[in-house]
Amino acid sequence: MTMRRMLLALGLLMLLVPAFGAAPPAAGGPVVHESALTRRELSIARTLRCTVCQNESVADSKAGIAKDMRTLIRQQLVAGKSRKQIVAFFVSRYGDYILLKPRFDLVGTIVWVLPLFLLAVLATSGWLVIRRHSRATEPPPPQLTEEDLARVRAARQQD
C-alpha cells in the first residue's frame, strides 16, 4: 500500500523532469573542446581577486583588467611557468591582496584560527549555562497522599 503510493509519488516526480532520457536523433557540427590551457588558466584565475572589481575573482569578472589578467596567466602558462610561479608573480605585483584565500602567514593564520577560538569560547559558555542550570536544585516532587494515589490508580484503570 505505502509502497504503491511511494511509487506513484516517484512517477509524478518524474513527470516534472521533462524529456528525461529521451534523445532525439541528432547530427551536429564539429565538437569543440575546452583546451587544457583554458582549464588551467581559469583554475588559477579563480583564486585571484580582480583588482578593480568588487570582490569578484578574475575568472568571474567581466571587467577589462580581469580579461588582461587572464591573458597574462595564459601567456605565462604557455611560457611553461607553474601555477605556483604565476601566483607568486601576481603576489609580487599586487601583494597578498590579490589572493582570495588568506595565506597561512602571521596575519593570515589568525583569521583561520579565530573561528576555532570563537567556537571554543561559545561552546564552553553554552556548556556552562547548561551545567549551571542543571545544578540548581529542583523543587522536591510533590508528596502524594494515599487518597491521591488511589485517584491516580482509578484514572489509569479507566484508560
Binding site: V32, D60, V111, G126, E138
Partner: protein
Amino acid sequence: MSPNALSLNLIELGHFAAILAFVLAIVQGLTPIVARGLHRPQLASLTGNLAVAVFVLTSIGGATIIYSFLTNNFSVLVVASHSNTHMPLFYKVAALWGGHRGSLYLWIWILTLFTMVLAFDGQTRYPERLPVILAVQGWLVAGFFGLSLFLSSPFVRLFPVPLQGADLDPLLQNPGMVMHPPMLYMGYVGFSVPFAFAMAALITRWKSELWIGLIRRWALIAWGFLTLGIVLGAWWSYYVLGWGGYWAWDPVENASFMPWLVGTALIHSITVQERRRMLHTWNIFLVITTFSLSLLGTFLVRSGVLSSVHAFTVSPGQGSYILAFMTVTLAISFGIFLARGRFQEAEETLASPMSRESLFVWNNVVFTTAAACVLLGTLYPLAINALNGSRITVGPPYFNAVMMPIFFVMLLLMAVGPLVPWRKANMIRLRARVLFPAILGLSAGVVMAVLAWPVYWTGPVAVGLVGFVLGTLIVDLARAVQQRRAQHISENVVVATWRTVFGNRRHYGGMIVHLGILMVAVGIVGTGMFRVEKSVVMAPGDVVKIGAQRLQFDGVHDLKGPNYTALQGKLTSLDHGFVLRPERRDYGPQQMTTTVASVNSNLLRDVYVVMGSPVPGKNGTTHYLIQVFINPLVAFLWMGGLTMVFGLGFTLSHRVRRAARATAPEAASAYAK
C-alpha cells in the same frame, strides 16, 4: 496644469512633508520623557497618533518621489540619475531604490510603516508600555531621517534641468532586483520592533516573560522577510550576474546573512523562554545583537568602507554619520543592557543535558558562532588594514571552508532537536526514534559515496546528514499520526495526517521550514560538489559537449529591447531539443555591456549559458566565447526558499486564529461594561 509642472511643485511638498515627519519623529521620541517630567502620563499616549502622522507624512514624501519618476521630472537629482524616458514603467517605480538616496528613503518609509502597525497592535494589548516602545522607534526614525534629509536627500533638485536622465544600472533592471531590496529592508527593519521592545523593557523594568510572546510574531515576520530577501538576492545573482553561481560571500551578502543567523538563533531561543522560562537575559542580548547587525549591514553598504557589488558611491560625511549613529545606538543599547539586564533573571532549572531546551542552547551556540565567523571574515581585512596598513582579502574559499563544518553541525542539530522531548529524554525511546533516520542517513551517504566515487568527504557527509534530517522529519510526523489514530480509530491515514498537521500548526510550520532548509541544503550540495563548467570558443555550427549534453551554437542575431540593443546567441541541445538564448545587452554609451545568461532548468539540473565577447576567427568569421555550466539541483534552492516562507506563514496562521478566539470574550466583557 500639465502633469510635469504639477510634479515640479509636488516634490517640494514631499520634501516639506519629510522634514515635518523628521520633526514629529523627534517629538515622538521625547513625548514619554516629557509626560513623565510633567507628571501627565496621559500625554504619553500621543506617541500613537504621532506614529501615524509620521507614516502618513513619510508616505507623502515617498509618493511625490515616485510621482517624479513616473512623470520624468529630471529636475529631481534621483530621477535624473536613475531613470529616463525610455525606461519601462515597472522599473521607473523600482528606480526609487536603485540608488543610495532613494533606497535609504525606502528604509525609513518601511520603518515608519512598522512603527504605525506597532502603534495599532499595542493599543489594546500593551497600552502602558507602548509609548516607550514607540519612543525608541521614533528615535530610530529620526536618526535615519537625519541622514536622509541632511546628507543624502532624495529631494535634491538640479538646475539647469537635464533633458534626459541617465539610466538605471542595467544589472538592476530585473524583476528579482525590484523585489529584493524591499524584502530585505522589511527584514532588517522588522527586527527593530523586538529591539524597541527590549529597550522599553529594560528602561521600564518590564519582565521579559510578559513580552517575549509579543515579539515572537514580529521576529518571525522579520525573519521571513529577511529569508525571502536573501533568496531573491541569490536568485538575482544567479540569473543576472552571469557567473553561474548564486552566493559569493560578498560583504553585503554577509551583512544580510549575519542578522539572519542571529535571528534564527533568536526565534529558537524565544521558544525556550515561552515554554520553559529560561534564557531571559540571553534573549534580550540576541534581540539587541540582531538589530545591531542589521544596522551594521546598513553601515557597510552605505559607508563605502568595503568594496562590494552592492556598495553605493557615497560622500565621506555619510560614512561618519552612520558610524556615529551606529556607535551611539550600540553604546546606549548595550549600556542599558549591562546596567539593567540582570533583573530579568527568574530562571527555571534544566532537568537534563539531554533535553529539548539544552539542544536549543546548542542551536544558539552554533548559530552565534556562525554569525561571529562571518563577521570576522568580513571585518578582518578592515582591521588588518587599520592596524598595519597591509591589505589582504578574505574571499569565498575561506568562508566555504569555515562554514562547511558549522553547516553540518546545524543539520545534525536540526535532525535531533525536534525528536528530543522537553525536560528529560528517555534514552531508550530516543534511540528507537533515531534508528530509522540514522539508517536512512547512513545508506544515503554510502550510496552517494559509491555512485560518485571518487568524491571529497564533504559530499557523502552532507548527503548522509540530509537523509538523516529527512528521516527524523518523517519519524516525527509518523509518530504523531500514529498517536492520533490510536485515539481516533475511524480516521484513515490521510485524514489523520491532515488533522495532526493542522492541529499543531506552530510545530509543523516549523517542520516545514526545516524541510525548506533541507531542500536548500540539497541545492547547495548539488551545485557545490557536482557543478561542471566549460569555457570554449565557438563558431556557428560548432558543438560543445558538457556532461550528457551536446549543445550546438547556431549563431547570433541582433535584437532591440525597450531601452537596449542586444546581440542574441542561439544554442540548441542536440539531446533534448531545448533552445538557449544568451544575450549581450548594450544600454547606451554610459553603461557597460551586460551579459544575460540563458538557463534551461528542470528539477535535477540547470544548463546555464553565458555568451562572452566576440573573438575574430581564422578566415574572417566571428567566433564567440561561450561559457557553459551544468548546475545540478539548483531548482531545490528556490523551492526550498519558497517552502521556508510557506512554512513560516503556516506557523503564523496558527496564532491568528488563537488571538481571534482570545479577543472574543474580552470584547464581550467590554460590551458588558
